[in-house]
Structures are given as C-alpha cells and as structure tokens.
Amino acid sequence: MRKNEILTAFFIAKKNIIKNKNSLLFTILIISLGFISSIIIYGVLQDVSYDLQENFIETNMGHVILEPYKNQDKINNVNNVVEKIKVLPNILGVARITKKSARIYDKDENYIDTEILVINPKEFSEVSVIDNIIEKGDFLYKGENDKILMGCVNIESCNEIKAFDTINLDVGEKARIVSNGYPETFLTLKGIYDHRYIEIEATSYINEETAKAVFSDYDSTKADQIIILLPKRKHASETIEELSKMNLNVKLSDWEEKSSKFSSVVDSFIIIGNISFFIGILISAISIYVILYINILNKKTQIGIIKAIGIKSKVVALSYVMLSFFLGIIGSVLGIILTLLMVEYFRFSPIQTGVGELVPQVTMGIFILVGSAILLASIISGYIVSKKITKQNIVEAIFHG
C-alpha cells in the first residue's frame, strides 16, 4: 500500500472519530469495562491467594522456616542456632516451636483435638501477631506453668459459626489435656485469640514451662521448627542464602514452599482467577467485535460512497482497522485508569472476607497483557468486519445500505 493511501485511510478514520464522538465514546466505555472485568476478578482472586499465605506467615509460619532433616528428630542446640540467626540482616524476629497434639476436654466431657505449639512467648510475639489479637484474657508469659492459649473457633462462647467442634470453656477455667503417652493434666485457659481466618484458630499455644509439665519428655534445647520473620517476602531468598552458608545442618524453606500444605486451596483460587481472566478477555474480544460490527454496519452507505469515488477497498478496510486500533488504545487506557481508581477504592474500603481484607492485586504485567489482548482483539475485529463490509457490492451498499 502506498504512503498516500495510508494517509487517506488515516484521514477517513480521524474524521470518523471526530464526527462520531458520542457513539465511539460508548464503544470505548464498553471496551474499558471489558478491560476492568478481565482484571478485577482475577486481581481479587490473586489477593485471596496472597492473603491465605499471609495469614500463615503472620501467625505461625514466618517467611523462612528451619526444620530438621528427615533423618533427624529435632533441631538441636536451638539457643545457639537462634542466636546465630539474630545477627543476620533484615531479621525482625526468630522463634522456636515444638509441635504437640492433644485432646482437650471441658467439664462436660466435650472435647476437641488440637495441635499445640510450644513457644517462648516473648520470642514468639516478635514473629507472630497472635499476641495482638487476644479476644479475651491474656497472652502467655514466660514462667507460667499451667496456662493454655486457644483459638476462638474451639471455644463455644466465642465461635459464632457453630460448624466446628467446640468446648464449653471460659478464661480462668480449667481444661483436661490428654495426649498419647503422657499422663493427663489440667491447664487453665489464659486467653482466647481471634483471627479472621478460622483455620489459624485451630492451633493452641503453651509456653515451655507448661510443656515440661504436660509433656514429660519435652526438651527446650530442641525444636521442631525455627521460624523467622522478615520485613518483606522478597527478602526470604537472600536470608536463606545467608543461612545456608552457616552450616546449621537444618532444612531451609521459604514461605512459598511451606505454603504447599495449603497449596491446593491457593492453586484452586489461582486456576479460577486464570479462567475468569481468560473468559473476561474472550468476552471483551467478542463485545469489541459485535460493537465494531454494528458501528461499521451503520457506515455501509459511506463505505459504498468512498468505494464509488475510486478509493480501494483495502484503503477503506485500513481506515476501519485504524479506527479499531484507536478504540482499543483509548479503551485500554480508560480501562487502566478505571481499574486503578477501583483498586484505590478497594484500598480504602477492602472487601471483608474470612481470608482477610481483599484488595485486587494488579501488576504492570497484567495491564500489558490485557491491554495487548484487547488491542489485538480490536484490530482483528476491525479487520474482519471491514473486510466483510468492503467486499459488498457498491450499489447494494449505497442504495440498500
């Protein structure tokens, strides 16, 4: 195609845009809505996955986890390891954890089965938010020897969902603890914590002194895990690199690997997110095609006239491809602006869910991907539709258009 033919196509497209602002504005709005629908649901589901992980990171998983190798029972010389870790850069907190399980009975012999984490309360409060979410009573202190901290989901008076097993226990009341291989003991409920994600609340906590009383073989120099809290997720890899140089003889994992225990849930949300993302793009592409088809169909007479005066079909088709390109660009730009405004709105007023406060996660990569897809859909739609229309007989187009 010659330069002047391209210029003519551009001229026709430009005049079409100038004189049909209102109808084109409507088209642009539809394209931008397609853009938003592709991104927002995807972004929300991305945040569900993010929040699911964050719930565990902020309570009892941290960003980096040290565990014994499979051939080892526990991490040994925990005090020594913890002190070594504390001197590394970016460390906000280090806490040792020993995992036990037990059945807890109330006075009416109702029971729940729970995982009990043995913690050093002061150390643990530096890596976890549990001490900040006490609904009733208090967090644990070092030196106490018969106290237990339980999650709201296990306590009848606190659990509003009622879909889970609960015991009738209040702060200050004693519960009977039964664990395989250990004599039964009684612990006083010191506090009830309330986390937005009920899966978190299924864990109970005791301090090291209490652990010695309940689990006779408990050894405070050993631990099942050491968890480390960092300023941000991205610091995990460099911390792991530093730790691996220290020859601690422990298995090192970051938050992402550890998330595998609930990865099926995360994966489900990611898959749903991806499906909704591609359906959104597909719907946008179809909408763009339909709108452009209607738009160009209304121009049948004009297309006939342009062809009648001797302008080639390919010039006319190019003018409509240019128009579609313009609509795709402006629609995408408007889509980006509206999406950012919506994200800003959700930042101030997040969607409240059991997983956490959801704010759609959008990245530059997603904007580029959706923008490109919408632009491509616009250009292809414009080309197909204009080709179809310009093929029509001129007399048909002008006199029966």
């Binding site: 330069k3 002047n4 210029l7 026709i12 004189k19 009648a308 080639k312 079909s313 007399v395 002008i398």
Partner: protein, 229 residues
C-alpha cells in the same frame, strides 16, 4: 471533423435473481458517446437508466456485454484497476448527492485526490478554486447537513470535477431539487461541458431540460426506444 468515441456500449445485459425470480433490467443495449458530448439517458421509471449507469461506472458488474472506454473493455479489469478507473476516469454525481457526512464540503471535494497526492496545499487550492467557480467558497467548511440540497449537489459535482475525469456521469442530479436549483445545476453542467469540454452523461427525467443536451437516448423496458438529436 468527427469527434472521438470515448464510450462504446455493446449488447449490455444486466439480470437480477435466478429462475422464476429472474428480472432482466437491461436487455442488450448498445450506444456510443463521443468526447465532449452532453448527452442524456431518459425514460420512464424502471426502464433501466440507473442500472445502465451503474454498469458504465463500474459500480456494478454486468451480466454480459462489452463496455469500451477509450478502447479498453473495462469490464475485464480486476477490482483494484476498476477502483483506479473510477478514481481517474469517471466523475459520478448521485441523485441523492451521497456526500460523506463526516467531511466538510471542501474535504468531500479533495478526498478523491488524496489517494494520489496526499493532503497537500495544491489539492486544497484546487478544491477552493472549484468551490469558487460554484459560488460556494464561503461554505467550504460546512458539513453536508448544514447545506441545502442544491448546494450539496454542487459540492457533489465539484467532487466529480476535481479529478478532471474523462466523463461525468450524473444520475438524475436535479431529481431532489426545486425547479430553480435544478435549472442552476443543469446550467452548471452545460457550462462545464462547453467551457471545459468535459463529456457529460446525465440521466434526465424532465422534458424541460432536454434542450440542454446534444443527444437524448430514450430507454423503455430495458431497451433503447429511440435516440433523439
């Protein structure tokens, strides 16, 4: 000296539909047009005037026959060459003006030239000159919807004229105008024919305008009924 034949139509046939629905709009007509002639095609409604024009101007493809334009059978051209032919050799004036509503008067006029020359000062000046000759220079930036029927038809003539075509085909150019505006259009066409020696072929339905033409070809039921000099 005899004038050169610019257009020669031989056994032109155009049928629509098939089987029982088959309609023969033009039934094998033949005629010639000489360079510089001001000629009319007349006849009652449905006689095949517009169909004949659509074939000559390559807006439609005839069922059979030959259309020789300056010695070349233009029916056999491919689509791109047909477009080029329409662009360079033919100026078409429609009954309903058929200006592009998105373009101003002057833009409608110079649009056909843009394909070859781009948007240059030269084509704008040429369009202004023609507008001036048509006494429409002050209306150059108006959109078709802001112009009267007569003004729109003169813009349509200017659009045909700017290409300096071999022939102007005007399909009932006065049909939608009042008698005064119609007469002005006919006088404009006659003047263009006489002063610029442009061959002009008009579909005419008004007996009062027959005095302007060198010849009138009368069609009846898709055939030539008679040719009046």
């Amino acid at each position: 000296m005899d004038k050169k034949i610019i257009l020669s139509v031989k056994n032109l046939v155009r049928t629509y539909g098939e089987g029982r629905a088959k309609t023969e709009a033009v039934k094998g007509i033949s005629f010639e047009v000489k360079k510089g002639e001001f000629i009319a095609l007349s006849g009652p409604s449905g006689s095949g005037k517009s169909t004949t024009f659509h074939q000559i101007s390559l807006l439609d493809n005839p069922t059979s026959g030959i259309i020789n334009f300056c010695g070349q059978n233009i029916i056999k051209l491919n689509e791109d060459n047909k477009s080029n032919f329409r662009l360079k050799k033919i100026g078409y004036v429609f009954q309903h003006y058929e200006l592009l509503p998105e373009l101003t008067a002057i833009e409608n006029i110079y649009l056909p030239l843009m394909v070859d020359k781009g948007i240059t000062t030269e084509i704008k000046q040429r369009a202004e000159k023609i507008l001036n000759e048509m006494n429409l220079l002050e209306r150059k930036d108006h959109y078709p919807s802001e112009l009267s029927g007569g003004e729109q038809q003169r813009i349509a003539i200017a659009r045909a004229l700017i290409k300096e075509p071999e022939i102007i085909l005007a399909d009932e150019p006065t049909a939608n105008l009042d008698s005064l505006a119609g007469r002005r259009i006919m006088e404009t066409l006659k003047e263009l024919n006489e002063k610029k020696e442009i061959t002009i072929f008009v579909i005419n339905h008004e007996r009062g305008f027959e005095k302007y033409f060198d010849r009138v070809i009368r069609l009846k039921d898709g055939k030539i009924d008679r040719i009046k000099k």
